[in-house]
């Protein structure tokens, strides 16, 4: 049913024992191990199911699968490993034979002497004279290999140690000689031909494994699922508390599902059981004691993907606020504000549509949905910023721009926010700031303000939730003297700065007073004067939101550079200094377009990565630290049971 989150019984009460597995638990787990080893030999990966199987089919085919097919797979796999080992040993043999090919001796002449000592190996300098000095009776064969001299020295056995000393002075390093017979070259050829035979035997075996894999893949995965389910079921009593006559299951269930669980259990057990809820007060005590109450995140389907981002940080505790909703509100806006380009937004959206069909696991789907919603916002912000593949891109050609003299006028008046227009609507917004060219000085200043403004709202929401969370835990001191001052500090610091810029001294004074108040509150707080040490952190929190502008500028800058490089540098240069686009040569246009596409492609990749990572950081560092996971995170609600993927219900 997948309803009850079972709490493991730890055996610490004398009247109850830990339960024992029921039924065929042992057989099931043995079969499972067998199956897993077969699937490992076949290199079988878990994948999205193509078809599903009824349990009866699994039961009837399992025996054949595990014993006949399994034995076949294991035998084939073992033969392949044996062949590989043999090929390897033969290759080693060839490697040791090759240097001997330069010596004029057959292989049998290296072995089988009683009164002769044999030295075979490479030397750095000629040895004949020195060997003759210590052992007048000798036989030396020399041949030059690629970068060393190969020698075979035969001396009487009683001179062996002297000769060995002489040889080592000449940089002798020994080569081992395999115990074979006949000519060296023909021995190598024989080994090579037997490697070929072995490889020829291996190829059909590999194909056989691939065929078995193809034929039984789904059935094997389904059987794996069935066996996992059975083992889980039969071993469940290990998590129960048991007496001689009865057992107790302890667990959590969402409140609204309780009556369903109760009725189903009662009908299944024919009235032989008792299902009861613990009292609310007792439950409260458990929470206070820090018992791991599991959390089930419950969000609307649109917000669901953002649970991924929450979970990546920590599972919310039972009493904590689930921040997924906040991430849903802020994250895509931040993503859009950073990327802010109609062209990139649409491109990413289309690519993700394709990927969505490819990557079907739930994790990937969530991730893709998160970025997809972000790319919609990027398109919307792109319209505000007047960008289609960067400034100088397609916007001017599609929507048109201001005439030259009006641009000059705006620049002189210090009100230049860009030259794009919304088609016949012209420029919109107060002072005609939209479409906003993000590279214009005025626009940068405006966006600095906007970023900090978003930052203050973001941090304030975090702080308010922090106060609420601590009140929920009943820790008033933390709420009012640790979290509230942060809120005051950040809000009034911004008001003071705004006053400075606008020249309103009363705002500066008001801000200053409240900043002082918040610092006094911090000193009175649980950390005492040490609380003041956090103040630079709160300040840097706000400055950190400048990244919304900064990363965006970097992305616009690169797009601008790509367009500038292609249309105003490479194309005119390769056309011999032509000024007008009509005079560009074909070669110039092709090279220019290549550069254009490649730089935009790199920018697009960065444009997915950094607008994702940085808002993520803003949430994790700037926001979550204010309210989330102060107690180290919770436990996810994972009800007992198994999701059927390959099995028919």
């Amino acid at each position: 049913m997948r309803l009850l989150h079972i709490v493991n019984y730890n055996g610490n009460q004398p009247q109850f024992e830990i339960g024992k597995p029921i039924g065929k638990a042992k057989e099931y787990s043995e079969d499972l191990i067998k199956l897993r080893s077969i699937t490992r030999y076949l290199d079988l990966k878990n994948k999205a199911p193509d078809k599903t199987f009824p349990e009866s089919q699994i039961l009837s085919e399992m025996d054949n699968l595990l014993n006949n097919v399994g034995a076949d797979v294991i035998a084939t796999y073992e033969r392949i490993t044996a062949i590989e080992a043999e090929v390897k040993s033969k290759q080693d043999l060839i490697r040791s034979l090759t240097p001997l090919a330069v010596l004029p001796l057959p292989l049998e002449s290296y072995h089988g002497y009683d009164s002769l000592a044999t030295f075979v190996g490479t030397v750095a300098t000629p040895i004949d004279a020195d060997v003759a000095r210590v052992s007048p009776v000798n036989e030396i064969y020399t041949g030059s290999a690629k970068n060393a001299t190969q020698v075979a020295v035969f001396v009487p056995a009683d001179k062996a140690s002297e000769v060995s000393a002489v040889l080592s002075e000449h940089g002798f390093s020994e080569t081992s000689v395999p115990k074979l017979e006949g000519n060296v070259d023909s021995a190598i050829a024989a080994q090579e031909s037997s490697i070929k035979t072995l490889e020829a035997e291996k190829t059909p075996l590999l194909k056989k494994l691939a065929d078995i894999k193809k034929q039984h893949e789904d059935l094997m995965l389904a059987t794996d699922e069935y066996l996992s389910m059975q083992t889980q079921k039969t071993e469940a009593p290990l998590r129960f508390a048991e007496t001689d006559n009865a057992f107790v299951i302890d667990g959590y269930i969402p409140s609204d599902q309780f009556s369903r669980l109760k009725s189903e259990l009662e009908s299944a057990a024919g009235g032989k059981l008792e299902v009861s809820l613990i009292a609310d007060k007792e439950a409260e005590e458990l929470v206070e004691k820090g018992e791991d109450v599991p959390t089930q995140m419950d969000n609307p389907s649109l917000v669901k993907p953002y649970e991924l981002i929450t979970k990546l940080f920590a599972i919310p505790e039972y009493k904590e606020f689930d921040p997924s909703l906040l991430i849903f509100v802020f994250f895509p806006i931040m993503f859009g504000m950073i990327l802010g380009d109609v062209g990139y937004g649409i491109m990413i959206f289309l690519v993700l549509l394709l990927l969505k069909k490819k990557f079907r696991t739930p994790g990937w789907q969530q991730l893709i949905n998160v970025v997809m919603i972000g790319s919609v916002w990027a398109t919307i912000f792109g319209i505000f910023f007047g960008e289609i593949f960067g400034p100088l891109g397609l916007w001017g050609r599609i929507m048109g721009h201001l005439p030259e003299h009006e641009i000059e006028l705006a620049k002189e008046a210090g009100l230049y926010f860009g030259e794009g227009v919304f088609g016949s609507l012209g420029r919109l917004g107060p002072l005609g700031i939209f479409p906003l060219d993000r590279l214009a000085t005025n626009a940068v200043l405006l966006l600095i303000g906007t970023s900090i403004f978003i930052g203050v709202i973001h941090c304030s929401v975090g702080s308010i939730l922090g106060i609420k969370t601590f009140l929920g835990y009943g820790e008033k001191k933390h709420a009012y003297f640790e979290k509230l001052p942060v809120l005051l500090f950040q809000v009034f610091l911004t008001i003071a700065l705004l006053g400075l810029i606008m020249g309103q001294m009363w705002m500066v004074a008001l801000g200053g007073i409240f900043i002082l108040v918040s610092m006094v509150m911090l000193v009175m707080g649980p950390e005492g004067p040490m609380g003041l040490a956090h103040v630079p952190f709160y300040l840097s929190n706000l400055v950190s939101y400048l990244r919304l502008l900064a990363i965006g500028l970097a992305s616009v800058g690169l797009a601008y550079a790509a367009n500038q490089l292609a249309f105003y540098v490479i194309m005119p240069m390769l056309s011999g200094g032509a000024k007008d686009s009509a005079e560009f040569t074909t070669l110039a246009i092709i090279v220019g377009l290549l550069v254009l596409v490649s730089v935009h492609f790199i920018n697009l990749l960065l444009g997915i990565l950094s607008p994702f990572m940085h808002p993520l950081r803003l949430h994790y560092v700037e926001m979550f630290t204010k309210f989330y996971s102060n107690k180290g995170g919770g436990v996810e609600y994972s009800p007992f049971g198994h999701v059927r993927r390959f099995l028919k219900a």
């Binding site: 940080f313 600095i448 840097s540 400048l546 900064a550 993520l616 950081r617 994790y620 560092v621």
Partner: protein, 88 residues
């Protein structure tokens, strides 16, 4: 004593300063992240559930660049206080 400089070269020096502010801050942040990143990869290899917290720790020094950038922006766009020391 008035410093004698023409507006052009003063603006050039401001630009160099702005570049240094962002660039050096970037190097600093990179050096900071290097150690953290290595440690995080190590931890995540052992315990994949730590990825989120690891990212959080790894991204902490990023703020340094933003400080550098803020200084650059002030230098580039709010340089009027320096205009007084330029003799025409």
């Amino acid at each position: 004593m008035a410093v004698v400089a023409d507006a052009g070269s003063l603006y050039g020096l401001l630009a160099v300063g702005a570049g240094l502010a962002t660039g050096l801050a970037g190097i600093g942040a990179g050096m900071g992240e290097q150690g953290i990143g290595a440690a995080v990869v190590g931890v995540v290899a052992e315990e994949p559930g730590f990825l989120g917290k690891g990212l959080f720790l790894m991204l902490l020094p990023e703020t340094l660049i933003i400080f550098g950038l803020a200084v650059s922006l002030i230098l580039m766009f709010a340089w009027t206080p320096f205009a007084g020391i330029v003799t025409p």
